[in-house]
């Protein structure tokens, strides 16, 4: 195991601790307003200072990271499931069903994703739940398309025909051999999308269309901090650093996993 992979795993483990054990770590209630200590800088009592309402920034950040990461995970898991069902049904049944499902996917892919997400979030009304819905709605199509491609490729592999020729049941063969070959690319793809989705969520919350205050969320917190940039820069610097930390952990793990699964050694030995 190389250093990249180790770093990635450690970063993700720390992140998991923040996300799932956050309430245990946070020293203050993230919603507790105390106007007497508003907009304070770093101090012993408040490690990362306080915000415009005197809430402890460190505690809020821990909760906020949880919110952002959990939404990303839900969006990715849901889109992956829908995409998997759509894509594999299209590829397995083929013919008119495939054609019809592909046209639906095409229409979804024909929209500029961000505009579509914003539009849906806008008409539904800005909230954490609606932003999750909007993101699932606009992202499942690419998963479906990917799964369909993988299944179609795998269906054509010579060994499928070979085992059918040997007397195996075609459907059984496909389910047993083709589906597993979809999982690795699908999970790699989904993994990449986590970082991407995270960026989308904080971006949407930043422009006020995502998670609404007072719920702590990283993008929304940066949005709230805009008015205090001059006096309290820590209010936007710390949440931004946390976003970068989360996205970086997923990116570095994604990078090293790809190297791990597709080792360079193979290409070195081809003479």
């Amino acid at each position: 195991m190389d250093n990249h992979l180790k770093t990635g795993l450690v970063l993700i483990l720390v992140l998991a601790a923040i996300v799932f054990a956050g309430p245990l770590i946070a020293p203050y209630d993230p919603f507790e307003v105390d106007m007497s200590v508003r907009l304070q800088g770093i101090s012993l009592a408040h490690t990362m200072g306080t915000d415009q309402l005197g809430r402890d920034l460190f505690s809020r950040l821990i909760y906020a990271t949880g919110t952002s990461v959990k939404i990303s995970l839900v969006v990715v898991a849901a889109s992956m499931t829908i995409g998997f069902i759509f894509g594999s049904v299209a590829a397995f049944l083929g013919g008119a069903v495939d054609e019809f499902l592909m046209r639906i996917i095409d229409v979804f892919m024909a929209f500029p994703t961000k505009i579509f997400t914003i539009a849906i979030a806008g008409v539904l009304g800005a909230s954490a739940f609606n932003i999750t819905l909007a993101l699932i709605f606009t992202s499942w199509a690419s998963y479906a398309r990917m799964v369909r491609g993988c299944v179609l490729t795998a269906k054509q592999l010579p060994f499928i025909d070979a085992s059918v020729a040997l007397g195996a049941n075609r459907h059984y063969t496909i389910v047993k051999h083709v589906l597993p070959s979809v999982f690795q690319p699908l999970s790699t793809f989904a993994f990449q999308r986590i970082a991407h989705t995270m960026m989308a969520i904080v971006g949407l919350s930043f422009i006020g269309l995502g998670v609404q205050p007072p719920t702590p969320e990283l993008g929304a917190m940066i949005n709230e901090s805009k008015n205090f940039m001059t006096t309290a820069p820590h209010l936007f610097i710390f949440p931004g650093l946390l976003i970068s930390y989360v996205v970086f952990s997923f990116n570095i793990l994604d990078d090293s996993l790809r190297d791990y699964w597709d080792p360079r050694i193979k290409s070195e030995l081809v003479l």
Partner: protein, 318 residues
């Protein structure tokens, strides 16, 4: 070639009909009816039952959905997308205005990104695993993890608040462009560096590079005439996709710098549930997106003679 373009354009018709239908139907996703939303915006209080009925009759909302839709589509085809509910401005004109603003910001920032990423990425691939390569990989890996709007805030903090040499918002003077362009350009350059590096590296391992070397070409000639030429195919494709993302892709940066671009304008409309603007913008940006994808495909065909239009069923990738 012309046949292909014609077929693609023909294929656009059903896509546009469905797209426009979805754009129109977006309104019905909302928990409240158009009348409620519009009247609430107009009178700033919950409308009475009577007001709603009057309104529905006046604007045709009492008719079947299909009739409403065809009326809207018919008007849209004549360039009339209605008026904004918040300030009464013409949706079509708003789109053009903000489109121009977005294009200005986005094109300049992508050119900046290309100027940063091409030399770094190519050199990195050429000297793979060297100190420079390791550094540029780490740099771009950290870079792609920074949200673009946050990068913008850091720039504002440094150049506007601390040094006070550049404006943090505004649109009128060329100076206004610098910070948002830097934020977007830098932010795009990180992923572009990675793309250029992998594309070039992949090509460098291919057999025809070995052939080029066996022909007695210099490393520079190999790089320029064989490696880069082939590596440009994926780079141009992705760059093209990036460019189409300027509708909406830069929304957070535009909002941060109060840049009157498409994303910013659209986000405001969406936030205040300005229905005609939402419908119009979704329709126009989808059309733009589809046409832009067609243009990218044609450019790719120019770059890569192996792409055969006749065996392709005119699909576009978003």
């Amino acid at each position: 070639m012309l046949k292909y373009i014609f077929r693609r354009l023909l294929y656009l018709i059903p896509v546009m009909i469905i797209t426009s239908f979805i754009a129109y139907m977006l309104v019905y996703l909302s928990p409240s009816s158009p009348a409620q939303i519009i009247l609430k915006a107009r009178y700033t209080s919950e409308p009475t039952q009577e007001q709603v009925e009057d309104f529905n009759e006046e604007y045709g909302f009492d008719k079947p959905i299909l009739v409403q839709y065809t009326t809207w589509l018919n008007k849209a085809m004549h360039g009339d997308l209605g008026k904004s509910l918040t300030d009464g401005s013409d949706v079509w004109e708003d789109f053009i205005y903000s489109f121009k603003a977005s294009a200005k910001l986005y094109f300049s920032s992508q050119i900046l990104a290309l100027f940063i990423a091409l030399p770094i990425g190519v050199y990195s691939a050429f000297k793979a695993n060297s100190l420079f390569d390791r550094f540029s990989r780490a740099y771009s890996l950290v870079g792609i993890s920074l949200p673009d709007f946050w990068l913008g805030m850091i720039l504002v903090y440094i150049f506007s608040i601390t040094l006070n040499i550049l404006p943090s918002f505004g649109y009128t003077s060329p100076k206004n462009l610098i910070l948002p362009m830097l934020a977007l350009g830098l932010s795009s350059s990180f992923s572009l560096i990675r793309l250029v590096r992998t594309s070039v590296l992949e090509v460098l391992h291919l057999n025809y590079i070995r052939t080029a070397r066996s022909k007695g070409l210099s490393e520079g000639q190999i790089m320029m005439k064989h490696a880069l030429r082939n590596a440009m195919i994926p780079i141009v494709t992705v760059l093209g996709i990036h460019l189409t993302h300027f509708i909406g892709g830069a929304v957070a940066v535009e909002s941060m710098f109060a840049w009157p671009g498409l994303g910013n304008f659209f986000a405001k409309a969406a936030g205040s549930q300005d229905i005609p603007v939402i419908q119009g913008f979704v329709l126009l940006s989808a059309i733009f997106f589809i046409i832009a994808n067609l243009i990218i495909d044609i450019i790719c065909k120019q770059l890569d003679p192996r792409i055969d239009f006749h065996n392709e069923s005119g699909k576009n990738n978003g």
